[in-house]
Subunit: 321 residues, 2 copies
């Protein structure tokens, strides 16, 4: 398993405490989750029907403002796992630093993988991967620049796992263009990563292929019921986007007392540069607040946003020490 | 999508009624589900940790009485989807008639697929598939015969999706043998198919490969929490096995008034042969009881077991008409 946030078991092993004592800011998962509500007995017991899955797809098209074909999967990660089988093996280029699952998944399946650091360097690749906005540094790419790149690559995958709160960056409305494939995560913005739900949007050929590879029941009944309700709830999404925009800037203000510099971020997480990220992680862990550091970038620490007032206070307190 | 049970949307389209009015006997899913109980907020919101997934694997080893490596997936179907990538393409042979996803999944990935009707005819295949007990006809294969076949095939996949209530048929205790791969469904016996949970058990090489292809978070937090509890509950499993054994025979007795002949079955479903299965399906559908018929076998009708007393009465009533 590669290095990921959300590894609270590691935090517990090293610093003790019960899972429920920890404030996990090691991911970009919204800590004020969409209300789960009641899950019907049928959602637990029955195989999801075609029409139930179809209503989920329609809700995703609504939330992502597109009429492009869509397929639900067990998280954006599930789509990443299938990417190597979507086209004949060739050269993949990944705009890095970024989410660290693309390179190993493609390499393991026999793709030649090259990591590049500029958008233009993706041109010529059979498969080009861009995470927009990027994780962990929040770097953003203008939709028009991505569309200009599209004819210069075999297939362009844009991972919009963190785009919900910045919809102007999204290319879902263009997902019908051949060669363009958009991945969306449900769990991060809606704060329900344990539900395992994500989507791929693209032209019919790719989506039919991904759907066939995912099998007839790729997501749970609970994911369909809760996901559909959440994706149709425009009021919640708007209020949440506004809150995250406000509070992410608030987090930057709160850490100004530290010798930390903002590298970038999204409304769901911030990346700070500092002299010793491991020391900062340990300081936060002393107050049972878990953060994300990066083996290859010893000066980087990524922080998600606290949820409740109590969580914000606990963070303020440890930072003031 | 291939022909499957559980397609209540089709039943509704053709015969009307609300989903909740129907008694769905078109699958082999236990209608008296394991109690779901409360799902913690953390299970919904957080990414499952390595150690949480590990506890689920241990619970599966307990329930399936084995120390063999195991990997959790989104249903036995999720493992089927990965089979084509487990080994270099070659000839697959499937013992048929059986569950109709193996052939198309393997064919779509470029495998040469041959359907055979006797166990011995599997010998020589690179990949051999046996469902034991078999769906839909309940045919059973003795563990010793399967083990004798093992050295004569490249890889032997035994789908034990319906083996929970007939554990003497299971080869999970032998799953460590190289070349043997056992698939287990969680949702059928525990009546929680909407949870999307299943397992593959085998030697470390295969299981590590399947785990890598499934990605770091292959199942939901709810699947881990509920699955673990259920798989450790020996008392429930024993009582349920006893009830299903009793009631499946009770179903055979109940249909004796019809011109139906028992072909075979498992404690979770029965397959009956009759002059006109479509007419029988329509008769049952008139009482909003859904059953499974087979395009290629117009004389076959498969029935799952009703759950509550009310459901048994409704079935008895329509059969008496």
């Amino acid at each position: 398993m590669h290095e990921h946030g959300g590894n609270l078991d590691l935090a517990q092993q090293r610093f003790g405490g019960r899972v429920e004592d920890w404030i996990d800011l090691s991911t970009g998962i919204n800590r004020l989750s969409y209300p789960v509500g009641e899950v019907s007995m049928r959602a637990w017991s029955a195989l999801p029907s075609r029409s139930e899955i179809e209503t989920l797809h329609q809700a995703a098209q609504h939330a992502y403002r597109t009429s492009a074909p869509v397929v639900a999967m067990g998280g954006a990660q599930a789509a990443i796992q299938l990417l190597p089988q979507l086209a004949p093996r060739g050269q993949a280029r990944i705009l890095t630093p970024t989410y660290n699952e693309y390179a190993p998944v493609l390499s393991a399946a026999g793709w030649e993988v090259e990591e590049v650091s500029e958008l233009d360097a993706l041109a010529g690749a059979a498969l080009a991967i861009v995470v927009n906005p990027n994780n962990p540094d929040g770097r953003c790419y203008a939709p028009k620049d991505l569309l200009a790149l599209l004819p210069r690559v075999g297939r362009l995958v844009i991972d919009e796992s963190f785009a919900d709160a910045v919809p102007h960056l999204s290319l879902t409305s263009e997902a019908l263009r051949p060669g363009l494939l958009i991945l969306r995560s449900f769990g991060k913005f809606y704060g329900l990563a344990g539900l395992r739900l994500g989507f791929a949007l693209g032209d019919a050929t790719d989506i039919v292929k991904l759907a066939a590879m995912s099998g007839p029941w790729p997501v749970s009944g609970a994911a369909i019921a809760i996901g559909r309700r959440a994706l149709l709830d425009d009021a919640w999404a708007e209020a949440t986007s506004a809150r995250l925009a406000r509070e992410s800037v608030g987090l930057d203000a709160m850490v100004q007392s530290q010798d930390w510099r903002l590298v970038g971020g999204t409304p769901l997480f911030r990346l700070y540069e500092m002299p010793d990220a491991l020391a900062a992680q340990e300081k936060l862990a002393g107050a049972q607040i878990w953060s994300r550091i990066f083996a290859r970038k010893p000066n980087w620490l990524r922080l998600g946003l606290p949820g409740s007032e109590t969580e914000w206070s606990r963070l303020a307190e440890v930072l003031a020490r």
